[in-house]
């Protein structure tokens, strides 16, 4: 968490150095870093509760197809734009929708967001900093007989890439923090995605949880017998756990197939679908967000 916060400060400093006054920049960087440090404490196995958070959200009751297709369109608009404004706009709108409208705690939202943001910051750092023999950038740090420089063009390019990625991530998080995976799979099924893909998604989704559960129980059993006493033992234990997981998942798959056959399964997985009705206000809101984004895109 602290690492992400420090990374945030460094990347923002490099990104806006020379564009805004020094004192304002320091204040801005500290605020952002502090926010990540305070609210973004990443929960271990937090991703396992995404579905629980989605069902708690007030946006859960909004039609899943509407949310899904709005998200896809907004993501396409965001990624195809040449302006950082759209990404920032979508990040703010999605934060508002997920936290204020959806009722998700800001701490939960930030802790979910912090993992992709860490990767984003690392990529941003790689895009921003160049190594050269002379101090050619707006920010230059002496480093091993040369300079680490941040160029103006790199700042603009990185701001665009990061805002696009952040906007797209925000859209996806709005969708996944308000729509359980089962609803998303149903939308894909209705969109005529090939059956084999949809069925695999059902089973992979279900098995992700089962295998994680198995993994943690095996890991605890290994720990209780000092399976992590030193680095070498820990590596060997992890290898054994993975091979056991493979064997157990194979057996579990056989059992599951038996259980499906016992309920007259004949090659096609079908469930009863439950659709939520679309209301006029939901459609108008979605259309409004899309139109504003399109307007920004065309500007």
């Amino acid at each position: 968490m602290i690492i992400t916060a420090v990374l945030t400060v460094i990347v923002l400093w490099c990104l806006f150095y020379g564009s805004i006054p020094g004192q304002v920049l320091i204040f801005f960087c500290l605020i952002m870093g502090g926010t990540i440090a305070v609210f973004g404490r990443h929960k271990k196995e937090g991703f396992l509760i995404i579905d629980i958070l989605a069902r708690k959200s007030r946006l859960y009751h909004v039609n899943a197809s509407l949310k899904f297709w709005t998200t896809i369109i907004l993501m396409i608009l965001c990624i195809s734009s040449n302006s950082a404004v759209i990404g920032i706009f979508l990040a703010i709108v999605m934060l508002f929708l997920t936290v204020i409208v959806g009722g998700l705690k800001i701490h939960d939202y930030m802790s979910m967001l912090v993992l992709p943001v860490s990767f984003l910051l690392l990529s941003g750092l790689a895009l921003l900093i160049e190594y050269g023999g002379s101090p050619a950038g707006v920010l230059n740090l002496p480093f091993f007989h040369g300079y680490l420089s941040v160029m103006r063009t790199d700042q603009i390019r990185t701001a665009l890439v990061m805002s696009k990625a952040f906007g797209a991530i925000s859209c996806l998080y709005m969708l996944s923090l308000s729509t359980p995976m089962s609803d998303i799979i149903e939308v894909l099924k209705r969109a005529h995605v090939p059956d084999v893909i949809v069925e695999l998604m059902y089973l992979i989704y279900r098995y992700t949880f089962l295998l994680i559960e198995m993994y943690y129980s095996m890991k605890s059993a290994a720990k209780s017998r000092l399976g992590d006493i030193d680095y070498r033992t820990s590596l060997r234990t992890t290898g054994s756990i993975y091979s056991n997981l493979l064997a157990r998942s194979y057996r579990q798959a056989n059992n599951m197939f038996d259980a499906m056959e016992s309920r007259c399964f004949e090659g096609e997985i079908r469930f009863l679908e439950s659709r939520k009705n679309m209301t006029l206000i939901q459609v108008i809101t979605a259309a409004g967000i899309m139109l504003i984004t399109l307007g920004l895109r065309l500007c």
């Binding site: 359980p180 309920r263 004949e266």
Partner: protein, 268 residues
């Protein structure tokens, strides 16, 4: 009682040298409470899988309401619908993202209309008191709740016989009690219930009839008092007498107490 299922000379091998079921013949009826006991590897789970038609036996015949079941899809579907099987581990059975869609899986496979599926799902949910969990993801439920979902899975297919493979093994006392209450409710609906278990006290308390499996064969098919009185049989099959049965024998109680409250009544 109407005969629902009859197995005649069923044999099944997983590997060539090991017979999981060996020339097994038995009839199962509606509205009866049958316990299937035997040590590990006796063939209880395989017996259930053959009854439900998931395992194709090597030898023997299987009759559903007097009619022989062949290899056709239609016959297999009818067998699987009539003889429902609740697996030991609910996690092997549950595949869907929500409780409601999970329970709809069986009826949807029966190619019923959506209205009929909805009604059967609603009935099964009401029977297993799962209304509060209808839209929940099954992997977030407790062991007892998952077990109820796995029973509702089968109930939604309207079976006549319900097979439970070691249903209470991983349940806590509260959930065990709830499970037994559910069994009473299902029994009152006229379903035949067949349970494979290692819990001899439960068998003594609950069953009307006991099937003892040993090395894939049927070692006994009798009333609980007859099975538990036969010490040679118990010794051969690695089984023990239920505690209350032993207490009743020691104190020469007549009739033998099935529950603790029976002992109180007998002492009064």
């Amino acid at each position: 009682m109407e005969e629902i299922l009859r197995l005649e000379g069923i044999s099944f091998c997983y590997e060539e040298e090991r017979k999981a079921l060996n020339n097994l013949s038995v009839s199962l009826y509606g509205s009866e409470k049958v316990a299937v006991i035997g040590n590990n590897g006796a063939g209880k789970s395989t017996f259930f899988l053959c009854c439900n038609g998931v395992r194709k036996f090597n030898d023997g015949k299987l009759f559903l309401r007097g009619k022989e079941i062949g290899d056709s899809k239609k016959e297999r579907s009818l067998l699987r619908q009539t003889v429902g099987l609740v697996f030991q581990d609910p996690d092997s059975q549950i595949i869907a993202g929500t409780v409601e869609s999970e329970i709809s899986f069986g009826p949807m496979n029966l190619k019923l209309t959506k209205e009929a599926v909805r009604k059967q799902v609603d009935d099964a949910i009401a029977n297993m008191e799962l209304e509060a969990f209808r839209n929940r993801a099954p992997h977030y439920l407790s062991g007892g709740e998952k077990k109820r979902v796995s029973i509702a899975d089968i109930l939604a297919m309207n079976p006549q016989l319900l097979l439970f493979d070691e249903p209470a093994e991983s349940l806590d006392p509260d959930n065990k009690r709830l499970f037994e209450q559910n069994l009473d409710i299902l029994g009152k609906k006229g379903l035949g219930i067949i349970i494979a278990t290692h819990d001899m006290d439960f068998v003594w308390r609950w069953a009307d009839r006991v099937l003892v499996l040993h090395k894939g064969g049927l070692a006994a098919d009798a009333k609980p008092e007859d099975v538990f009185s036969d010490e040679i049989l118990l010794d051969t099959c690695g089984l023990v007498q239920p505690v209350l049965f032993q207490v009743g024998k020691i104190y020469d109680m007549k009739p033998l107490p099935r529950t603790v409250s029976d002992i109180h009544k007998l002492r009064l």
